[in-house]
Amino acid sequence: MSKPTSAAVRPARRLRIAAGTLLAGIALLAAACSAGAGDNAGGTDGSNNGSTSGGASNQTLQVGLGAAPANLDMTQTAGAAIPQALMYNVYEGLVKLDGKAAVQPLLAKSWTISSDRLTYDFQLQSGVKFSNGDPFTASNVKFSLDRVPKWKANTPTYLAAIKSVDAVSDTEVKINLKEPDNNLLFWLAGPLGAMFDPNEVSNLATTAIGTGPYVVDRYNTNESLILKRNDKYWGTEPKLSQVTLRYYADANAPVNALRSGDIDAVYESQAADQVKQFQSDDRYKVEIGTTQGITVMSMNPGKAPFNDKRVRQAIVYGVDRKAIDTAVTEGLGKVLGAPVPPTDPWYSDLADKYPYDPAKAKQLLAAAGKSKVTVDFNVPNLPYCQTIAQIVKSDLSKVGVTVNLHTQEFPAVWLDKTFTQKDYQLTVINHVESRNIFNYGDPDYYWNYNNPKVQKLLSRAAAAPGDKPYADDMKQVVDVLADDVPGDWLYNAPNIVFAKKSVTGISANDNGVSLDLTGVSNPS
C-alpha cells in the first residue's frame, strides 16, 4: 500500500464534502417541497368532504382523457374538455342530453310549450341546493340565463331567441322567446344552460360551484381534475366517492396507464389500433359508440377553383372516404356524406351519394375546364389531419389535382390563418361541437358558405310546429348541402372506451356535452 501524501487527501475530502452537500441538498429539495402536489385551482367549499354518510359506497374511478381544460370557466374559454368534465357532474341545467343525445329532464321535472311555441313553462325540482349550501330556485334560472349574453365562448348566440325569463315562483320558471326555436331545449342541455350561484361567479376559472352530484376537489392544470361526491346532492347519490380525470396529450399514454393498472378506463381513446388487442383480453371491455364530431374537409367556395360546384363534387368523388376512415379509425368511424352525426333526428345514411369514383371526378373536372389544377391544403398539425392529408393528396393526384400541403400549428396558427382570416382553399378538422350544421347558415363563418336557400330553410326549421316538421325541414337542409358540397364530410369519429371489467355505466356514445358520471360505478 502506498501512502498518499497529505496534499492529495485534502482536496479529495473537499470534493467528497461537496458531493455530500449536493446530495443532501437534493434530498432536502425532494423531501421538503410539495413539487407537483398541485394546489393550483380548488373548487371545494370545504363543507362536503367530511365522512361519507352511512351506506355510501367508497368506490373510486380514474379515467384517462385527451385534451385538458385550459381552466374551469366555460363562459370565457372554449374547448370541449371543460363541459365534458363539469356538465351534469358539477353543473346542472334544466335539462340534459342522454347517451343518444336526446333531451331528458334534470333540474326541471317537466315543462310545457305554448301552442305558439313562444313560451316554455318549467316546473323545477324542489329542495335543490348548490354544493356550498345556497338554495337553487327559479331566480337562479333567471340569473343564469340572463347572464348568457356575457359569455364569450360556447356560442352564446344559440340562445339568442330568448326574450325574457320570469321566475313565477321558487319552483316555476317561464322562458319567453322572440321567435320560435326548436333547438332551445337542446342548447339548454348544453353548457349554455348551466345553472350558477350568483355568489360564486366572480372566479369561474378556478372555482366551479353547481348543483351537481360532484364537487371539484382540485384541478391540477393540464394534468388531472379530481371530483368528490357532493353529499348535499338532491338526486340519487352517485356510487363513486371520488373520480379522477387524468389528461394525456398522447394517444398511447392512457392506454399504457390502463394496462399497468394506474387508471380504470380510457374515454374517447384515439388509439383505435389497440381495439383488437383489448377485445381479446378478458380483463378489459371495449365499447365503441358515436361522437357528435364531423370530420370535414372544407372547400372554400369563396376561392377558385372551389367557387365551381362541379369542382367540389369532383373532389368528393375523387377522395376515398372509406380508406380515410380505415386509416384513421380502423374503420370504426361512420363514413358520412353530410354534416350530420348518426344520433341527430335528421340523420340519413348518405355515405353512398358520392361513391369513390375517380373517373367521374375527372369527367366533372374536365366539364369545369379544370383538368389540371393545383390547390393549397392547410393541414392542422394533428395526427389524424396529417393522415387524411396524405390520402387526399395521393387520391387527388390520380384525377389531375395537385395538392400542396401546408402544415399549420393547431390550434393557434390554424385558428388565426384559416379560421379567422379564412385564408384557405382546402382545410380539414374534426368539428366536435354539437349540431355544427347550423354554421352553414352563417355566411361569416370560416366555411364561407352563403346560400340563401339554406339560411331560409334553417330558420323555417327552427320555427317548425313540432319535432316531426322540424326534422323534415332539417332533412331538406341536409339534401341541399349534400348536393352543393361546401365540404367533404369524411367520417363521424367513433367514441372508443376501454375499461376494466368492473367499470359499468359509462355511456358508449359521446353526446358532445358531458362525460356523465352520475350512473357510473366501479366495485373493484
Binding site: 423531501a31 417541497c33 372554449a78 376559472a205 396507464a257 393557434a412
Partner: protein, 315 residues
C-alpha cells in the same frame, strides 16, 4: 476573485435584460393569438376583441414590455391569461418537479458514466473496452422518448412493477414519489450517462498519456491505482465542463420525457403555454430557464477552481 465575481454578476444581469427583450420581441411576432385560441371555433370576432381588451393585449408593445419587466423586478411574473393563476407560482411548482427529475437523471448519468468511461478507457485495446464502447455508442443513438417508451412497456405494461406515467409529490408519499420518478429519470439519465461516458473515456485516455501518470507508474502504482489516484481528478476538468452543458441540455430533453411520462414539469408547462399562446406565461418560463442556464454556467466556472487549484491563482 472579487472583481471577477462582480464582472460575472454584471454580465449576468445584462444577459437577462437582453434575453427579456429577445423573448418578448420574438413572442410578439409569433403567429396566433391567445384570445382566439382560448375562444376557439365558437366565438364571434367581437367576443375575441373584447377578450383581447380585457387582457390588455390591445395596448402598445412598449407599455406591455415595461409593465412585464417592472413586475419581474418585484418577483411578479404576471397572471396567466389562460389559467388565471399567478405565473410565478405555476413556474415554481413545475420547476421543482423538473429540478428533481433533471438532478436525479444527472446523478444516474454520472453514476453510469464514471465507471463505464473509466473501464472503457482502461480496457482500451481489449474486448471489455470495445464492448463497453460499443454499448455506450448504441445508447447515445437511442432517442430519449424511445428509451422511455421501452421502459414503460417492460416495467409498467408487462411487469406491472412501476406506474406507466404520472407524478406524485414527495409529501404525498415518498415511496410513491420514487416509483413515479424512477422511469423518467432512468430514460433521461441512462442516455445522458452514455453520452457522458464517452467524454470520460476520452478524457481518461488523454490523461493516461501524460508524463505524471508515467511517474506514478514508475513509483510502483498499478495502472489502475495510478488512474484512480492521480488520473481521474485531472480527467474530471473537461468532464465537468461537459456536465454543465449537458445539465442545460437535460432540461430540454426533459421536455420530451415529461410529455411521455405525463410529468408536470417546466417542459410540460412550456409546451402547454405555447399551444395556448399564453404569452405572459411563456415569457416567464423562458426567462426562468435562461436564468437557470446562466447560473449553471456560473457554478461550473466556480467549480473549476475547486477541482483545479492552478485556476485559483492564475485568474
Amino acid at each position: 476573485m472579487a472583481i471577477r465575481l462582480i464582472r460575472r454578476a454584471a454580465l449576468f444581469v445584462l444577459t437577462l435584460l437582453v434575453a427579456s427583450i429577445v423573448v418578448f420581441g420574438l413572442l410578439a411576432i409569433l403567429p396566433g393569438d391567445v384570445a382566439r385560441t382560448m375562444l376557439g371555433v365558437d366565438a364571434t370576432p367581437q367576443a375575441v376583441a373584447a377578450l383581447r381588451n380585457e387582457m390588455g393585449l390591445d395596448r402598445p408593445l412598449v407599455v406591455r414590455y415595461l409593465e412585464w419587466v417592472g413586475g419581474m423586478l418585484h418577483g411578479d411574473l404576471g397572471t396567466s391569461y389562460v389559467t388565471h393563476q399567478p405565473v410565478a407560482a405555476a413556474v415554481s411548482d413545475h420547476l421543482q418537479v423538473s429540478l428533481i427529475l433533471v438532478i436525479s437523471a444527472m446523478i444516474i448519468a454520472i453514476c453510469v458514466a464514471l465507471p463505464v468511461g473509466v473501464f472503457a478507457a482502461y480496457g482500451q485495446g481489449r474486448i471489455s473496452g470495445a464492448v463497453l464502447s460499443a454499448l455506450s455508442q448504441l445508447a447515445v443513438a437511442v432517442p430519449g422518448f424511445l428509451a422511455g417508451l421501452l421502459l414503460v412497456i417492460v416495467f409498467a405494461v408487462t411487469l406491472h412493477w412501476l406506474p406507466a406515467s404520472g407524478w406524485v409529490a414527495p409529501i404525498e408519499g415518498f415511496g410513491d414519489f420514487l416509483r413515479h420518478l424512477l422511469l423518467p429519470a432512468l430514460s433521461l439519465g441512462l442516455i445522458q450517462g452514455a453520452i457522458l461516458s464517452r467524454y470520460v473515456r476520452s478524457a481518461v485516455l488523454d490523461i493516461m498519456r501524460e508524463d505524471f501518470m508515467r511517474t506514478a507508474r514508475s513509483k510502483g502504482l498499478t495502472p489502475f491505482r495510478a488512474l484512480i489516484r492521480h488520473g481521474l481528478r485531472n480527467a474530471l476538468i473537461p468532464v465537468l465542463t461537459i456536465t454543465g452543458i449537458e445539465l442545460a441540455a437535460l432540461f430540454v430533453g426533459a421536455i420530451v420525457i415529461e410529455s411521455v411520462f405525463v410529468v408536470p414539469g417546466i417542459g410540460s408547462l412550456l409546451v402547454q403555454s405555447v399551444q395556448n399562446r399564453d404569452l405572459i406565461q411563456i415569457q416567464g418560463i423562458v426567462m426562468v430557464i435562461v436564468a437557470i442556464v446562466l447560473v449553471i454556467n456560473l457554478l461550473v466556472d466556480l467549480l473549476y477552481a475547486v477541482i483545479d487549484p492552478r485556476l485559483r491563482t492564475s485568474r
